[in-house]
């Protein structure tokens, strides 16, 4: 154990890894701070580079980037009233209102410290929970893996915001893409249209770059003329002390937000944005801040906002870390970013899942260390970003779009030194664009592409092994537990819908009621 930690520390302390961590941190902060650019887009653009790195720096790049991007998404929320990433959408109104009342930097400072604390909590959860689940997963056979993958797919559909049926269609599209290539049973080519290059299947990385990179550019170039947005001025000095005071006052909120984020993020297919919405709803509905006792109504309103931000902001960063629990233990992605990470790991010959805990413990421990380091690094870099946020937001969109196209093309080309991947990227870019126009979520597509082969391989293996005795899928004890989980997941649809509606109502009510809850 100690030896493993030592060798993990050596892997992380490698100059390449340190350089990669710093560069991807800056990259994550910039992309996350730009409205409309999601952490998933940043991950898709990082992948071509991680392709050429050793496993540990590759993992470090994606983890550091995502921790930074999720916090940075709060910056345009506060300054422009546009969330930088979907995870910040829950408390955008509150952050912007604080800016209007001259407390913008304090709001952002609170959100930063809450993010760091939430991220650290999520990391600790990851370190302690994933080995337990990993040990449990050692007893898995193809039946159990089939059910775990089905659980991931079910969750992906359930948490699709908006319409679950659209989520289902998106998932089927992803699964269909995953069947391209030679099949697992007879080696028969499927959907290859006579192209031998397609025998090995659709390249996952090309698909990701297209779905998240190129589709974003397509959306931007065909967008209607927008308004230019004035960026409010913020006074950056003297924020640290009021920030720490605010965090101390809301320590219980940070705690409960972290726990909610940790639990929700660990559900396969859920993720940080849903964690933030739920934590927001809980914090708002249990708030005890009232005007009175030397606190004017306006001050009480601002304190409530700070309270809500502490809860939700700690939740989304906790969710980022705990999304790695199912990823490491079962090889089932917790969200789109971990799905991309699984794609990268598979390319590098690392199979996420219980084997990681047995044979690749130094990689595993380095991953833990990176989580802690990334969250600690977020603190100074985050304060720096708050100071220079105005500058980051002024990066011209036109130049950014040109750069995304150039990186996308290079990344797709570099996969196999061929043009087929560029073609696939364009195809997926158009698909991503059309899906978003039709309100079809993209996350289930990604999970379908990643989990499709796992579901099919384990299903076919199981049925061929037992000569089509399907009862085996239901009668094994661990399978039975997993089936119960799948059923519970499906049964939770109304609950999730209720929580979501409650959160959204809380947001709109805030405006309608003003802030005179029990003031009279």
């Amino acid at each position: 154990m100690i030896q493993d930690v030592e060798s993990a520390l050596l892997l992380v302390a490698d100059p390449t890894t340190i350089l990669v961590v710093v560069l991807s941190a800056v990259f994550g902060l910039v992309i996350g701070a730009l409205p409309g650019m999601t952490a998933t887009l940043a991950a898709a653009l990082l992948v071509p580079f991680t392709f050429f790195l050793d496993p540990v720096p590759a993992i470090a790049a994606i983890i550091t980037m995502s921790a930074m991007a999720i916090f940075a998404g709060d910056i345009p929320s506060a300054l422009l009233r546009i969330p930088g990433t979907p995870s910040s959408a829950a408390y955008t109104e509150d952050a912007f209102a604080l800016t209007r009342n001259g407390k913008g930097t304090i709001g952002l400072g609170i959100s930063l410290v809450a993010s760091v604390l939430g991220g650290l909590f999520g990391s600790v959860l990851l370190i302690f929970v994933s080995p337990i689940l990993g040990e449990f997963a050692l007893r898995f056979t193809s039946y159990e893996y089939f059910w775990v993958a089905v659980l991931g797919l079910t969750a992906a559909v359930i948490v699709s915001k908006g319409s679950q049926l659209k989520g289902g269609i998106a998932l089927m599209a992803g699964l269909l893409v995953s069947t391209v290539g030679l099949d697992v049973t007879l080696g028969h080519p499927r959907f290859t249209f006579g192209q031998e290059q397609l025998y090995r299947g659709v390249d996952f990385i090309a698909a990701m770059i297209g779905l998240f990179g190129l589709s974003e550019v397509l959306r931007a170039v065909t967008a209607r003329r927008g308004d230019s947005m004035p960026i409010p001025k913020m006074e950056g000095r003297g924020t640290i002390r009021p920030t720490l005071r605010g965090i101390w006052r809301n320590r219980a909120r940070v705690g409960s937000g972290s726990v909610i984020g940790g639990v929700v993020g660990a559900l396969p297919g859920a993720g940080a944005d849903i964690a933030a919405w739920i934590a927001y709803a809980v914090t708002r509905s249990t708030s005890r801040v009232r005007p009175g006792r030397g606190r004017s109504e306006k001050e009480a309103a601002d304190d409530q906002r700070i309270e809500a931000i502490s809860g939700a902001s700690s939740a989304n960063n906790a969710g980022i870390a705990s999304a790695y629990v199912p990823t490491l233990a079962f090889g089932i992605p917790g969200d789109t970013i971990t799905a991309i990470l699984i794609g990268v790991l598979l390319v590098k010959g690392i199979t996420p899942g219980p084997d990681l805990f047995l044979y690749q413990t130094d990689t595993l421990y380095s991953l833990y260390i990176i989580f802690i380091v990334a969250n600690l690094l977020l603190l100074p870099l985050g304060f720096l970003l708050i100071r220079v946020s105005g500058m980051v937001l002024r990066i011209p969109r036109s130049i950014l779009m040109g750069l995304i196209v150039a990186i996308s093309i290079c990344g797709a080309f570099a996969i196999n030194n061929g043009y087929l991947e560029i073609g696939l990227m364009v195809l997926f870019g158009v698909m991503g664009y059309l899906f978003e126009k039709g309100g079809i979520p993209l996350a289930p597509v990604v999970l379908g592409i990643v989990l499709g082969p796992i579901v099919e391989r384990n299903f076919m293996q199981s049925v061929i092994k037992t000569n089509w005795d399907l009862t085996q899928f239901f009668t094994r004890p661990i399978s039975a537990v997993l089936i119960v989980l799948v059923v519970l997941a499906i049964a939770s649809v109304p609950l999730m819908g209720w929580l979501g509606r409650r959160a959204e109502r809380a947001v709109s009510r805030q405006g309608a009621e003003g802030r005179t809850p029990a003031g009279a």
Partner: protein, 215 residues
């Protein structure tokens, strides 16, 4: 989500959109199932390679039928509810159809509480350039420039080489978004040289050389 008229009719937009998605989904399923069935069987009656595509096709048809149906039922129920509530103004339906990646502000309620400083009174420091969009046919021309540009890149890169072709492509895209010539040319040249250096020199990926072979 505009203010609906009091005697509301179910909104047509989402219904039509979901109908289109449903039809396309059913069509995809209808193509995939026979294709899956035409694949070899492991042995008599036991499908192999075709099993998964057929199952996916079946679910595509199922979801494709259910989607417009559920939208229609939902719209009718909403219509009835609103009718009962009387002229209550347009209650915004909780956002249907925003994917987890696309996000809209829920309700977009402007929160002007008594104590809040009005937006206009904010001191500003610079302007964010969100204004890359265009109007009318220009939007579709921009989309075409992007897609045709990438196609042209694939055709021309082996001849002209990576640095020149990529620079041209980036210049075209940046310029189509109404940036100045200077900004477009600078971005194009720097991006293509930077990526060339990074991929060829650091990551050792062989990018197309074309004309500049041997440099």
């Amino acid at each position: 989500m505009t203010a609906a008229d009091p005697i509301s009719t179910p909104p047509r937009g989402p219904l039509r959109q979901n109908l289109l998605i449903g039809v396309l989904s059913v069509l995809a399923g209808a193509v995939v199932i026979p294709y899956g069935a035409s694949m070899p069987y492991i042995r008599e009656g036991i499908p192999g390679p075709g099993l998964f595509p057929m199952m996916i096709g079946g679910l595509l048809i199922l979801f494709g039928v259910l989607l417009p149906l559920s939208t229609w039922i939902g719209a009718r129920r909403e219509g009835r509810r609103r009718h009962r509530a009387g002229a209550g103004g347009g209650a915004a339906a909780p956002g249907d159809g925003d994917g987890s990646e696309a996000f809209a502000l829920p309700g977009a309620a402007v929160q002007d509480a008594d104590g809040d400083t009005p937006v206009e009174a904010l001191e500003t420091a610079g302007v964010m350039d969100t204004d890359v969009g265009s109007d009318g046919p220009r939007r579709w021309i921009n989309g075409a420039i992007l897609l045709v540009g990438i196609l042209a890149y694939v055709l021309l890169a082996p001849v002209l080489g990576f640095p020149i072709t990529m620079a041209l492509l980036v210049i075209a895209i940046v310029r189509s978004l109404r940036a100045s010539w200077l900004a477009a040319v600078l971005t194009g040249v720097l991006a293509s040289l930077g990526l060339w250096g990074l991929f060829e020199q650091v990551l050792l990926v062989q990018l197309p050389d074309g004309l500049i072979r041997g440099f």
